[in-house]
């Protein structure tokens, strides 16, 4: 236990320089983007003096280091600037949209793990069966089809042809009011406030985008679970375990415990992929989340939100890998600090 606290403490401390590095990268990447915001703000007919004034009001005449310090200070206080497109503070925009994206990403990860791991294990145990071959074909297909295409296909089949799914217009059906704001994620908020009409509407609307993400990204979890489990079932220590008369059930437990660490690593990577996948899938389903916000900001050259979204995604990824490392430590005693 003490060792764990030491490890987790060190790992969390290590995340601090990681996050600082992220902020440096975001800051300089933005300055590498083509175009100078001074000219955009000052307009095409501005005089040289006017441009100078705008430049100094933006702080762009300061040395880079001073600019970075200012940026860091503003970021830490939650000041991400104002979006030209929505005329709202970026922080507010993000607060409204991030929960929707997290709902989608976390939902997709949970479903992928809940289906992918048991399925992968089952296939590994019954090698060469029909399920094994089906999974193989699925893995090949899903790996080669892009997510937006799967999303459109699902809309075509389940909304347009079969009319089972609601139209892809966002998180709720037309005319359904948003639930009281608690976490910002509609399904969670509706459930918490006992608003079942909203809950079912939100649940129905999330099915297709979630399915799209799961279909595309679950194979990574599935394949890793399968190959890792297969490897462990064939491991030398399983021979000694079997020869000692351990029950089939205990043998499976031995193999599974050893097969889990790589699955955890891949789950972290999937989280990261999903964040990217959400950008396109949200656009298709008009989800109104962070991904869609990012796309619209890029199209409209709205720099402040881009900067904020990139930073948030980077922070999210850093946190995911922090969690992965800590879980990995709990699963594998061979990891040392």
């Amino acid at each position: 236990m003490k060792r764990f606290i030491v490890f987790a403490g060190k790992r969390v401390l290590f995340a601090v320089p990681q996050l600082l590095a992220v902020s440096v990268m975001v800051f300089f990447l933005i300055r590498l983007l083509p175009g100078d915001p001074t000219y955009m703000l000052a307009g095409p007919y501005a005089t040289v003096e006017r441009i100078g004034e705008v430049r100094s009001s933006l702080g762009l005449d300061q040395p880079l280091l001073t600019q970075y310090a200012g940026y860091l200070k503003r970021t830490l206080t939650g000041d991400f600037g104002v979006s030209w497109r929505t005329s709202q503070p970026v922080l507010l925009d993000i607060q409204q949209r991030l929960p929707a994206t997290l709902e989608l990403v976390i939902g997709a990860v949970v479903v992928s793990v809940l289906i992918g791991v048991p399925l992968g294990v089952a296939v590994a145990v019954n090698r060469g069966g029909i399920a094994d071959r089906l999974v193989f074909v699925y893995g090949m297909l899903a790996g080669s089809l892009p997510d937006f295409w799967i999303g459109l296909l699902l809309i075509l089949v389940f909304f347009f042809a079969l009319q089972w799914a609601p139209p892809p217009v966002g998180q709720l059906d037309f005319g359904v009011p948003s639930p009281d704001h608690i976490t910002g994620a509609y399904i969670v908020d509706a459930a918490l406030s006992g608003n079942w009409e909203v809950f079912w509407s939100a649940a129905g609307n999330i099915v297709l985008p979630l399915a799209t993400l799961v279909i595309v990204y679950m194979p990574l979890v599935l394949k890793t679970a399968r190959s890792s489990m297969e490897e462990m079932l064939d491991a030398r220590f399983m021979l000694q375990a079997k020869a000692s008369g351990l029950s089939r059930w205990t043998q499976l437990r031995y193999a599974l415990r050893n097969a889990l660490p790589p699955v955890v690593t891949v789950t972290g990577i999937v989280c990261w992929f999903l964040l990217g996948g959400a950008v396109l899938v949200e656009t298709i389903f008009a989800w109104g989340g962070l991904g869609q916000y990012a796309v619209e900001s890029v199209i409209n050259s709205d720099y402040a939100p881009i900067q904020a979204v990139v930073l948030i995604m980077a922070v999210f990824t850093t946190l995911v890998f922090l969690i992965v490392d800590i879980v990995y430590y709990l699963l594998d005693p061979r990891i040392s600090v």
Binding site: A235, R236, F237, L239, Q240, A241, K242, A243, S244, G245, L246, S247, R248, T250, Y254, R257, N258, L331, D332, P333, R334
Partner: protein, 611 residues
């Protein structure tokens, strides 16, 4: 004695897509209660398949095609998985070698033992843990309760092997099956494990089936022996009769090969060594000692490890090698012997101490001086594959030292490479081959050719034979001996293979935990080892002769960590002769008899009696 296990006409085949090939053909054997049966054979003889078939652990493509495996009359081949799970571990148990790979890496030792106990006895986890601690104690693991919390990677190989043994005997099996019980373990640990195993089955009056390549294990521990070759049993005999008068041609071949491992002075009792020449040891008298070729003074090598602690690999040792002399440096893993070799060659920098080569101090040499020196001081490594560049042809590999350290012309170098290949017993055609096209034994010859290319005065061999098969090993040793006689080089021969050292070296130095404990003329030292560690080490050698069973002189436990060296004499924690003074006084290596140095405060060397 009633029959416990009976295997009748067991036939197992490798069933491939197109072909079916028999790997066991009509194998029959039996083990009685309380009996120890040895199954010997070389790799590929079908021993491991036999084991797996008995325990019903065969996986496709291997299939049992016929026969019976009767455990007290119950045919195991007809039982379902449930019944088998009930029998495995309870009635017949298996202890595998390579212990680290055979333990579950992410569960504690206690958990694994408890799982195995509870698979056969419905007791709560806490009670099983208490039983597990008792088991660990019975296999001589210190602090058993503490060790329950340990993971396999936190234990040494010897400790893991003890844990495997504990797993196997956890439910007092009627038959214990052991696969290569000593592979990968140091000799002083091996004999402890073997003793534990035998004592465990004696206490339970169980049968023991030992599968091994090592005839020494069979001669020392088994009552009956079964010889396997190419999937058949070619001979079955009582162990003394087998070693005295083997009936089968293949058995005789095995015994002959093993006899190479026997001492010249023990040869009276049976077969004579055939793979190595039979002339008595110091066959080429040493040139009368003048100044030594290499002198090592107060050599010390320390490595910093975590948390500011220090690992002392070589702890203040001094020795000398004369011209044309072969000196053996022996010790178990962790003794620091390889580090000594590397320091001598300046492959790693000694922490302190001086090295003298041909009267010149070489411990401070650098640049050109060092490169020139290396031409005269060469090394042959343990793994012939790893020590050659896979993308370099063999001729290029052998030529490389020549072009680096001499100004020979290209033509001269080519001619020299051809000569060298011939010298090490390879054909000239081998020059254009690449490492992957050769066997390990051939590659080691290349390694030797490369080392002697520059006509060095001293060659350091770091376990040159331990990656090789037994028969190849003997060939390489013959070659090394030939070369030394012909070229008059000096050898520093680092090995844990005591028989190889005895064959090859004029003098032997025995190392323990970074210190030399005894140095002497090889034959004298092997006949009358004086230091307790030397005695334990040499008495751990299992000779393939039941008439020469080991006289037990056991050390307890295993080699301690070189990070926290014991105070006083490094051996006192394991030594059966240790007194209170041993923990305080650090003994110096002193000449206690002519030509014999010893570091122990309690013993003096016996005068060796000439036979």
């Amino acid at each position: 004695m009633t029959t416990l296990l009976e295997v009748r006409d067991l036939t197992v085949a490798f069933v491939g897509d197109r072909t079916t090939r028999a790997v066991l053909s009509g194998v029959s054997l039996s083990v009685a209660d309380g009996e120890v049966l040895g199954v010997v054979g070389e790799s590929g003889s079908g021993k491991s398949i036999l084991l797996a078939a008995i325990l019903r652990l065969l996986q496709p493509p291997w299939q049992v095609l016929g026969g019976q495996v009767l455990l007290r009359g119950e045919n195991l081949l007809e039982q379902d998985e449930r019944r088998l799970a009930a029998l495995r571990g309870k009635e017949l148990a298996l202890a595998l070698s390579n212990p680290r790979q055979h333990l579950n890496p992410i569960l504690t030792i206690g958990r694994q033992l408890s799982d195995v106990i509870r698979a056969h006895r419905p007791i709560p986890h806490a009670a099983a843990l208490a039983a597990a601690a008792e088991l660990l104690k019975s296999v001589n693991i210190p602090d058993p309760v503490l060790r329950l919390q340990a993971y396999p990677h936190e234990l040494s190989g010897g400790m893991c092997q003890r844990v495997i043994l504990a797993l196997a005997i956890a439910n007092a099996p009627k038959l214990l099956i052991v696969d290569e019980p000593t592979s990968g373990l140091d000799v002083t640990v091996s004999v402890q494990i073997l003793d534990l195993m035998r004592n465990a089955v004696r206490k339970l009056n169980s049968g023991l089936l030992v599968v091994s390549r090592d005839l020494g294990v069979v001669a020392n521990y088994c009552e009956r022996v079964v010889v396997m070759n190419a999937g058949r049993i070619v001979e079955e005999a009582e162990v003394r009769r087998f070693f005295a008068t083997p009936q089968n041609v293949y058995s005789r071949k095995l015994l002959h090969a093993a006899a190479a491992a026997r001492d010249a002075d023990l040869a009276s009792s049976g077969a004579s060594p055939v793979l190595l020449r039979t002339e008595p040891q110091p066959e080429h008298p040493l040139p009368s000692a003048s100044e030594p070729l290499l002198e090592v003074r107060d050599l010390m090598k320390r490595f910093p490890v975590r948390d500011g602690r220090v690992l002392t690999a070589v702890n203040d040792i001094s020795f000398a090698i004369g011209r044309g002399e072969a000196v053996g440096l022996v010790g178990e893993s962790g003794s620091g012997k390889s580090t000594v070799g590397r320091c001598v060659l300046r492959l790693i920098e000694p922490t302190s101490g001086t090295l003298w080569f041909k009267g010149q101090e070489i411990s401070k040499l650098a640049g050109t001086g060092l490169r020139k020196l290396r031409a005269k001081l060469q090394m042959v490594f343990q793994d012939p594959f790893d020590s050659l560049d896979p993308r370099q042809s063999l001729s290029a590999a052998i030529e490389e030292p020549l072009s680096l350290t001499t100004d020979m012309t290209r033509g001269d170098r080519k001619a020299r490479v051809a000569d060298l290949l011939q010298l090490v017993g390879l054909s000239r055609d081998a020059a254009s081959l690449y490492p992957h096209q050769m066997s390990a034994g051939e590659l080691q010859r290349v390694g030797i050719a490369r080392a002697i290319a520059t006509q060095p005065d001293l060659v350091v061999f770091d376990e040159p034979t331990s990656a090789l098969d037994v028969s190849v090993r003997a060939d390489i040793l013959n070659l090394l001996r030939d070369l030394q006689q012909r070229l008059g080089m000096s050898y520093l021969f680092i090995s844990h293979d005591l028989t190889a050292v005895r064959r090859l070296c004029h003098r032997t130095a025995i190392m323990y935990l970074g210190k030399l404990v005894e140095v002497g003329e090889t034959e004298e030292l092997f006949r009358t080892p004086s230091h307790p560690y030397s005695r334990a080490l040499l008495s751990s050698v299992l000779y393939p002769d039941p008439a020469q069973r080991r006289s037990p002189f056991l050390l307890s436990g295993e080699i301690p960590s070189p990070i926290d060296l014991p105070s006083g004499c490094a051996l006192h924690t394991r030594c059966p002769m240790a007194t209170a003074d041993c923990a305080r006084i650090e003994p110096a290596l002193e000449e206690k008899a002519p030509g014999r140095q010893l570091s122990c405060i309690n013993v003096a060397p016996e005068r060796s009696k000439t036979q």
